[in-house]
């Protein structure tokens, strides 16, 4: 499996420059990387650029030796699985239907027994088997987020990009979902990047952190290094202290000044 790298990428929304020739070190497969940074730092935009949903104004994104811009949109999105932050659907579709839709990847009219089993298993593994027959319009915010993660993980891709997969979840489901994402990434040897606001979750689950702020990559290293750097306190505008938790995990404390 191959690493994801970007060099010299620029993007602007009209006259508002978001990225000016930024680059990140290759993101190695088989590990979970967390993308952190304040609101409007450009996390979603970076994901969209990698997925090809927004056009790069300069620079290249490579997966191994492949220039992702050389692939068709369809082929690119097969390799790069991107989970958007929001989904609201007021449609008469069940959870099973929408996960099947993600599983089929827009191909083939017929649904085989193997497809049915795959979707059933995925729902069961995600802990939402009981929601299979529920309509997506009736789900709570947290439940629809669980469905979104399931839709992403049922696809076999080389790169997984999750835009805040835990923002609407309770404590147990936050740990569950990140655990699922991490084990899937490790098991499949895929590149996994998760945008997170909760630095404690990032420190706990991610092998690497990328700190994004003011349209630049400010740090890319292990959680211990990034969370202790001056850049993080400066970017967020808070004082940050770290300590050791009762189970030897890294704990992040933020103070207003």
């Amino acid at each position: 499996m191959s690493a994801l790298s970007a060099e010299n990428i620029s993007f602007s929304y009209g006259s508002r420059q978001i990225f000016d020739a930024i680059a990140f070190e290759p993101i190695v497969p088989g590990q979970l990387t967390a993308l952190i940074g304040p609101n409007a730092a450009g996390k979603s935009t970076l994901f969209r650029l990698i997925a090809g949903l927004l056009p790069l104004q300069s620079g290249k994104v490579h997966l191994g030796n492949i220039d992702l811009d050389s692939l068709s949109t369809r082929a690119r999105l097969k390799r790069v699985c991107f989970m958007p932050q929001f989904f609201t659907a007021n449609a008469a579709l069940t959870v099973f239907d929408v996960v099947m839709m993600a599983h089929k990847q827009l191909k083939g009219w017929r649904v085989s027994d193997a497809d049915m089993i795959a979707v059933g298993t995925a729902l069961h593994e995600a802990g939402i088997g009981h929601l299979a027959e529920a309509y997506v319009s009736e789900l709570s915010g947290g439940q629809s987020q669980l469905v979104s993660v399931t839709q992403a993980l049922i696809r076999k891709s080389d790169v997984y990009l999750f835009d805040e997969p835990t923002s609407a979840l309770d404590l147990r489901h936050q740990l569950d979902v990140l655990g699922q994402i991490k084990s899937a990434v490790v098991r499949r040897g895929a590149v996994g990047v998760v945008a997170l606001h909760d630095l404690n979750l990032a420190a706990r689950f991610a092998d690497n952190l990328i700190l994004l702020g003011e349209g630049r990559i400010l740090a890319q290293d292990s959680p211990r290094e990034v969370l202790r750097a001056n850049a993080i306190a400066k970017t967020y505008g808070v004082a940050i202290e770290t300590s050791q938790g009762p189970r030897e995990e890294l704990i992040v404390h933020a103070y207003a000044s």
Binding site: L77, C81, A89, L106, K107
Partner: protein, 152 residues
Amino acid sequence: MGSLARATWSKVGICFLILVLTLPWFMNRSWALTALRMGEDKAAALGVNVSILRIGVLAGVSLLSAVAVSFVGAIAFVGLVGPHIARMIVGEDQRGFLPLSALCGALILSGTSIASKAITPGIVYPIGMITSLIGIPFFILLILGQRKRHWQ
């Protein structure tokens, strides 16, 4: 108001031909159309080219309705009631929803056509009158249902 009185077999043939030409395209895009019901963002992330799909659907739908309307005139409410019945039966997975909507529309048209000829022997009422008689109460129920949902 629309009426089936002007229909001939050759016009039916042309309608059928257009349907045979457009339906496979729609069926081929059924997963993409289902994906679009989850929102543009989600559909795009699955690899749907949303703008091309939109234009294609618009063109196909325009062609189908233009051909039908140019032969028999505007027959109201069939396009509203048919898909709603289909949605209640199979949900919005377009693989089932699309063909069943067409079937429901055809059934409604056939049923009302029979009614338009059977009510007064010897007189054929314009079919648009009958479909409106069914469609308007349905439409009002739909609006009331919608408002109820917002109140809750």
